[in-house]
């Protein structure tokens, strides 16, 4: 199965280096290499291809962040790591949906990864709050926040985009927006 894909599978250290260097090609090779394995896991355990996509992308994000944070140690194979994370995530999802029948059909060996998934979940919750805070913030604040803090655009650019007559007005607007965003974010439970 997937012999051609496996034949061109990048080595684990290639992937770690590639991700640290923001290589798009390596990310793509990583993604395409292990997706079939996870698709197999999910669709043979009560899931469909959309579930497989969600679970797999979540696992890739966990791995990506771990590598970026510099605390990924190559003491297990990447393949096993990805499989274990997906397996754990899928079991969790299944029991949330009450579709978990008590057993799972396994295709690979796997490791305990609960702690990492808990960390990942905590962060996901924060991101969820941020997302809804930004939604509640409304325009033009949302775009100003995104442009300035996420896309690192200069105040000059933002001024021109929103037609502010001088940079000071824009700055005041930005700080007001930031205050409101913080308020909305911390208000959420």
């Amino acid at each position: 199965m997937n012999k051609d894909l496996k034949a061109s599978a990048p080595t684990d250290s290639e992937i770690v280096l590639g991700i640290l260097n923001n290589s798009e090609i390596v990310l793509k090779r990583l993604y395409t290499t292990y997706f079939p394995m996870i698709l197999q896991l999910i669709i043979n355990n009560n899931g469909d291809e959309d579930d497989a996509k969600d679970i797999y992308q979540e696992a890739i994000i966990v791995l990506y962040n771990k590598i970026k944070a510099g605390d990924f140690e190559l003491n297990s194979k990447l393949k096993t790591y990805i499989y274990s994370v997906c397996r754990r995530l899928w079991l969790k999802r299944l029991s949330q949906m009450n579709r978990y029948g008590g057993d799972i059909r396994d295709f690979e060996e796997h490791l305990p990864v609960e702690e990492e998934i808990d960390n990942h979940n905590d962060r996901d919750i924060q991101f969820g709050k941020m997302e809804s805070a930004l939604q509640l913030l409304g325009e033009p604040c949302k775009t100003i926040m995104e442009d300035f803090y996420i896309k690192n655009r200069s105040m000059q650019e933002i001024c021109e985009r929103f037609g502010y007559t001088n940079a000071d007005n824009a700055k005041t607007q930005k700080y007001k927006c930031l205050q409101r965003l913080k308020k909305l974010f911390f208000q959420q439970k």
Partner: protein, 363 residues
Amino acid sequence: MSDNQLTEFIERYLDGSMTAEERVQFELLRKNDAAVESKVTEHIKFIGLLKQYGERLELENRLNAIHNEIDVHALKEEVMIHPVWIVRMWRNHHSKISVAASIAIFGVLTILILTGKLNNDKSKYQQLSEKINNMEKTVAQIGHGRTPVKPKITRTPANFRGTGFALTSNGYLATDYHVIKNADSVYVQNAAGESFHAKVIYTEPQYDLAILQINDPSFKNLGPIPYNVKRAEGDLGESVYTLGYPADNMVYGGGYLASAANYSGDTTEYVISVPVNPGNSGGPLLDEKGNVIGVITARQTQVAGAYFAKKSTYLLKAIQNIPTDSLSKTLNLNTKNKLAGLSRTQQSSKLKNYVFMVKVYNQ
């Protein structure tokens, strides 16, 4: 200092756009004012989270773009484990199948209970009186007793046939109750083909036994009966035989005694392994010495070669139970066996004059 100003200070402090003098002042402020210090920490954390959130969105977009290039559908076909169709069907429909099976089992049981097949051994049991007429008519007559026969059905010489054997020389015979039940008139025919009218003088339906008496003016004394009716039970494996009228001529059947109780545990009957047929009912079952040890009654329809004979003890009891006013002549059983030393063929030729075809007529 307003919040906005503070935020501006923090941002300028962080992005390094403060002058050296401002920086020193601000650091002093941080040190001395805990509120300012916590604002700075909070701001750093919050902006960090906001940036990470942006990175996450960007990463997700990249992954989605990669994902869209994969032919998921083809891959899915490849990695899907296709269980055999029966397993698939079971997984998808097991609840429906279970319900259907339960209903089916329940239905079958209900039908069995309602039709009495479950608790009735008689379904396995076929009585051996020969049906001479076509099946439909016979069934109608047995089933409905004396229901009037439709005119289009032609009258036949006999509706029913079995076998009987002489108990005394003056014309008392034994046969099966099921042979003569519902009879309007009974005739017996000897080996020479002569028919005599007979009447039923006593029946014991529970043991399927009946006593007939020949009351025909043309009947002459049979001469001394060569066999006697044995009181003791026969032994397992004992060689036994019978004579009877499954066909128009007398038929001999030999075999052995297989069991002292039939399969439903009824100890009034022997199981015998003697080939008998409809028409043998009521015939005598004899042992090697020519003692009557039973009366042929039925065969088990589900076990090949298993037939039944009522034990002679019950015949003797039945004879004792005959009310005396039913007996117009004396009924003294022969106690002397004249067949003991003879070969089977000699026994048979002597016996044949005492074994009768019982012909039953009913409307």
